[in-house]
Symmetry: C2
């Protein structure tokens, strides 16, 4: 299949949902993250000298790289001399510490030069290299300037000389996967096959015996420790990826690895490796994923635990893991053109990713629990807490991966919306705006007019430069049970042309052709399968792609006691003034009165339930009205 995305600069938004968010990302988040990087020493770290305080940390190159990638995303759509100068200065700073052999890592160059490549397991060197490569590709594509790309190709060449299967090379790979997918991106940008081969080597070598992490530990004079999570599962280095069956260990590492592996499998046409990726995809999305698209249910090791173990209040569900799931989904979708991948991509994007940043674009969640009870949270010792920080978004984190991942994702969001196949244009996601691409030899403009995700009606104008025969494949989301479709005013039976989640409209398209897609969005009660013990007897509310939650601000405290009768009418209501404009779900639920209990803690169950109005808001909008209780999974009677 191998769908190519329409690059994000050629996808613009003019809708009420994404356009303002992308604007906030560009005008608020991007500058404040620059400022955070500057204040904390990340930007400017290349001038650090031994003996000074605040030495560059091993993560910092990746933070700066992700900011650069976000700046590139912004420049691609909104040229800005000031921003470009800022970015160029950062690039020159980094380029200035590149070693003659191409090596480029601020921490290891300036702080511990003697330790270069001595601890791939923990040092994050190749991880940082990967992020810098991604940024360099993005910057080249945005600005046409080769400078940063050339720097990173030299570094990639240095890495390719150092690591590999040949005599004299190291058979290592990074403790934190990332460089695999970055090398594939560099390969696609430059055509340099060597980068593809290196990515493939990193994927294939991982998990082989003897484990490189033990080899290098012995070389450091250490006895290889047993790591958390048992053996090397934390790093997904416990077995060759081809043999792995369950998503294990640190969730972000796992999902970055699977993303890179999918890239390699697709590029190599390697069915065996692709089958492994599909297996791991199913492990994540069918057994270890929250309804929000969150992944990694334990904060200890930020990791996957076991099938169906998805506690809500203790959920870790790191923002970066939801973003990494978007990456993995994007690649599986490109490789297989199946809507099941887009369904997960959409679920993660609109819920577990977007919850990571507040409406103002200034504060971030690292962990994204599905239930919050701030009073108890404050009273519990640290080790009992599910989330990384307080139950309130924070301005920054010592480990700043999530804010920088969010800013780069939103700065290049357009890339997730369309895919181009042979004589086919795939529409994966819906949002008002415009895109242009070459399809079947023609330049085609696609214009969406919609209020998605608040409304499911989507008008799509398909305007090829000249008439041409190709397929327009429209995703019929998995959550939609009754899609309706018209082309130029004539109904088309969506079911009749539905194939792997896409309604395929195969015809000669001419300028002026109009598609009308209607994806009805009734309020849905969602249940989790019976094995998910945290959700037994409960439902989640979903409308379209959005998962909803109850907040204390709307429903008062003690949300755990609210129940929705199965037959209660639930109404979607437009709220133009609430939370930046949204659709709430309103209905009549029931709860017990807290009055009348006196001081009794337990008593024979005889409390009448009183009827109460219940309002749910989209989960991604929670905690925009101060700290308070929140709950996705609601009792049902």
């Amino acid at each position: 299949m191998n769908l190519r995305p329409i690059p994000h600069p050629r996808v613009t938004f003019n809708d009420r949902f994404w356009a303002p968010r992308i604007e906030t990302n560009r005008l608020v988040t991007l500058p404040i993250e620059y400022e955070q990087c500057r204040k904390t020493g990340r930007i400017g770290m290349w001038t650090w000298k031994p003996g000074r305080p605040n030495p560059p940390h091993i993560f910092w190159d990746s933070d700066v790289a992700k900011w650069l990638e976000a700046a590139a995303g912004s420049l691609a759509t909104h040229p800005d001399r000031g921003l470009e100068r800022q970015a160029d200065a950062v690039i020159e700073g980094l380029a200035g510490i590149q070693m003659p052999d191409g090596y480029l890592n601020t921490h290891y160059a300036l702080v511990e030069p003697e330790k270069r490549w001595t601890n791939l397991r923990d040092g994050h060197e190749l991880y940082c290299a990967g992020h810098l490569m991604e940024a360099a590709v993005a910057y080249f594509e945005a600005t046409g300037q080769r400078r940063f790309l050339d720097v990173m190709c030299r570094y990639a060449d240095c890495i390719a000389d150092t690591f590999g299967p040949r005599r004299g090379q190291r058979r290592g790979y990074c403790g934190h996967p990332e460089i695999e997918l970055a090398l594939m991106r560099l390969y696609r940008a430059t055509g340099e096959r060597r980068y593809f081969e290196l990515a493939r080597f990193f994927i294939e070598e991982r998990g082989r015996q003897p484990c490189y992490f033990e080899v290098e530990a012995r070389a450091r004079g250490e006895t290889p420790p047993r790591r958390q999570g048992g053996g090397h599962e934390y790093f997904q280095a416990h077995a060759p990826l081809r043999e792995q069956r369950d998503a294990v260990g640190h969730a972000v590492r796992a999902l970055y690895l699977y993303s890179g592996a999918t890239d390699v499998a697709a590029a190599a046409g390697d069915a065996g490796l692709m089958a492994a990726c599909r297996r791991l995809w199913r492990s994540v999305t069918e057994r270890r994923m929250y309804v929000t698209g969150g992944a990694g249910s334990s904060r200890h090791g930020e990791r996957f635990t076991c099938d169906y173990d998805l506690p809500n209040e203790l959920a870790y569900a790191e923002t970066c893991a939801a973003i990494a799931l978007v990456f993995f989904a994007q690649r599986m979708l490109a490789a297989e053109g199946n809507g099941i991948y887009a369904d997960v991509l959409e679920r993660a994007l609109y819920n577990g990713v977007l919850s990571g940043v507040d409406l103002e674009g200034r504060r971030f969640f690292y962990a994204n629990p599905l239930t919050a009870h701030p009073v108890s949270y404050a009273a519990r010792p640290g080790e009992d807490k599910g989330a990384h920080t307080a139950l309130d978004r924070q301005e920054w984190f010592g480990c700043a991966c999530c804010p920088t991942n969010l800013v780069r994702l939103l700065a290049s969001l357009g890339q997730y919306f369309y895919g181009i196949g042979p004589r086919a244009l795939f529409v994966h996601l819906y949002a008002g705006g415009e895109a242009t691409a070459e399809v079947a030899g023609q330049s085609v403009r696609v214009t969406q007019t919609t209020d998605y995700p608040w409304d499911g009606r989507v008008r799509i104008a398909v305007d090829p430069a000249r008439p041409a025969a190709f397929t327009v494949a429209l995703r019929i989301p998995g959550w939609c049970r009754a899609a309706r479709l018209e082309v130029n005013g004539r109904p088309v039976a969506a079911a009749s042309c539905l194939k792997r989640g896409y309604a395929r409209l195969n015809r000669v398209w001419r300028a002026g052709d109009r598609i009308e897609l209607n994806l009805p969005m009734p309020v849905e009660r969602i249940e989790a399968r019976p094995e998910v013990r945290s959700d037994g007897g409960r439902i989640a509310l979903q409308r379209g792609p959005l998962v909803y939650c109850l907040e204390e601000a709307d429903n008062g405290p003690h949300l755990a006691d609210i129940a929705l009768p199965r037959d209660a009418a639930l109404t979607a209501r437009r709220q133009p003034k609430l939370l930046g404009g949204c659709v709430t779900i309103e209905g009549r639920g029931c709860r017990r009165a807290t009055r009348g209990w006196g001081s009794t803690l337990y008593r024979p169950a005889a409390s009448p339930r009183v009827r109460v109005g219940v309002r749910a808001v989209p989960y991604f909008l929670w905690n925009n009205r101060g700290p308070g209780e929140m709950r996705i999974w609601i009792g049902e009677t």
Copy 2:
């Protein structure tokens, strides 16, 4: 009020519930704990010499003391020359290391003699002294031998010389309360008022400024650290007890402290201190106690958190904390003669205490969660786990407080059943057996015939040596809503003579008088108040004093998905062969089929519920059929 207990040697059991458990405790648990103490070096620790391995730990004196107290309890009812010789040898070992000034602590005498009294906060010296005092009193009362009692009086005198408000004395107190209640026991056994004064000093001094723990830390050259839980709350030394309003910190420490304070308040007639104890009682039992009588919901610091924060799967609910709640309840009951205290005593005893040991008397729980899911438990990193060890009882623990606390409690269980007041005999708990006591100047024999707690009918024979006027006060348990009462075949309206939880039968009692008490035990659905977020939408099953649970052994896996309709009939069924003989609760519940889901993780809620047979067993009997899922709080539809 000040009810005196009938001492346990004068209370015997011949029922099907307690008699075999006490027998197992005496014949199985007591010897294996001796053997564990011997194997681990605890028994024999007094022969340790510097340079040898396995030096005596600061806790060990308390473990050995609790074993001695249990041995005393056993000897009091079942004289046994072999056991007495074993105990005497232990006593001689300990006595042999007593210093000339009376000081007696194995660790500090042999391992760190220079550190005596330098770290009351962490050293457990006075805690160990307290347990040894309790054992010495018990041993004296059981055997009439003064040897051990004299040793401990000398040590108590040494402590009384060292600590106190006078010039040259230390104004310290123990980081782990226990000595306060022990000194009161020693005071009652010896009449030595000095011990009472010392207990009062420890109670009153605690929490005053400057905090002694900081004073002694500075004396050690340390900067006083901020401890877990913030300040000195962990040790209940953050404020004078009279000013404390919430039960905070380490649960066992808190409940031992409140027990000692209640003893002191009652003995001193100190209404202010008693009011503080009542306040703390209410904090524990009305806001921070599990339905099992478990206390201390966080494993981190084994401590209380905040009101209504009672997670089930993460529950710590240490066995020792439930035992300590029995102690506190016993003292409040003695001081105030109110059935609310006996209700909690009974709740803790039959549920959260008894769950700590298996049917065979060989394996123990340290933590007592209310929900268990062993598969997830095994997959979660250590810090995510609620319980102290695996979800399976263990033979022993490095910190062995719980097994030794259980063995001593069961060895002297009779003391909790009756109270003697002025011209009054109180019956607090019901069990088949016999007791004798002096009431109103007469020797009175009380004989209970009952199958309690499996059945609520209790026949009580009251046989005074000669006719005498006094009150027989029969506890009408809080769980009982329709008690019926007859005296010599004539109905008595229980409600008319009910006062503070006791039906008071005031008459001239003559040999041959017979009371018939009927406490109907329907199966009750229990709800927790709406503020308890972990139990929202759920019920617990209770019958009589017993809280029930579902086990995987009876109901298959995925217990979280089982729901009981509010109107489902629930039947108590005698099971002579199950779990040593018990009453189960059986009914028809519903659950979703796990079939038909394919690989779907979430879907629109449309699953039909299928009717299934549900069986609940008494919670205290869980985990006697191998590891498996368990759940107290069950969904309700």
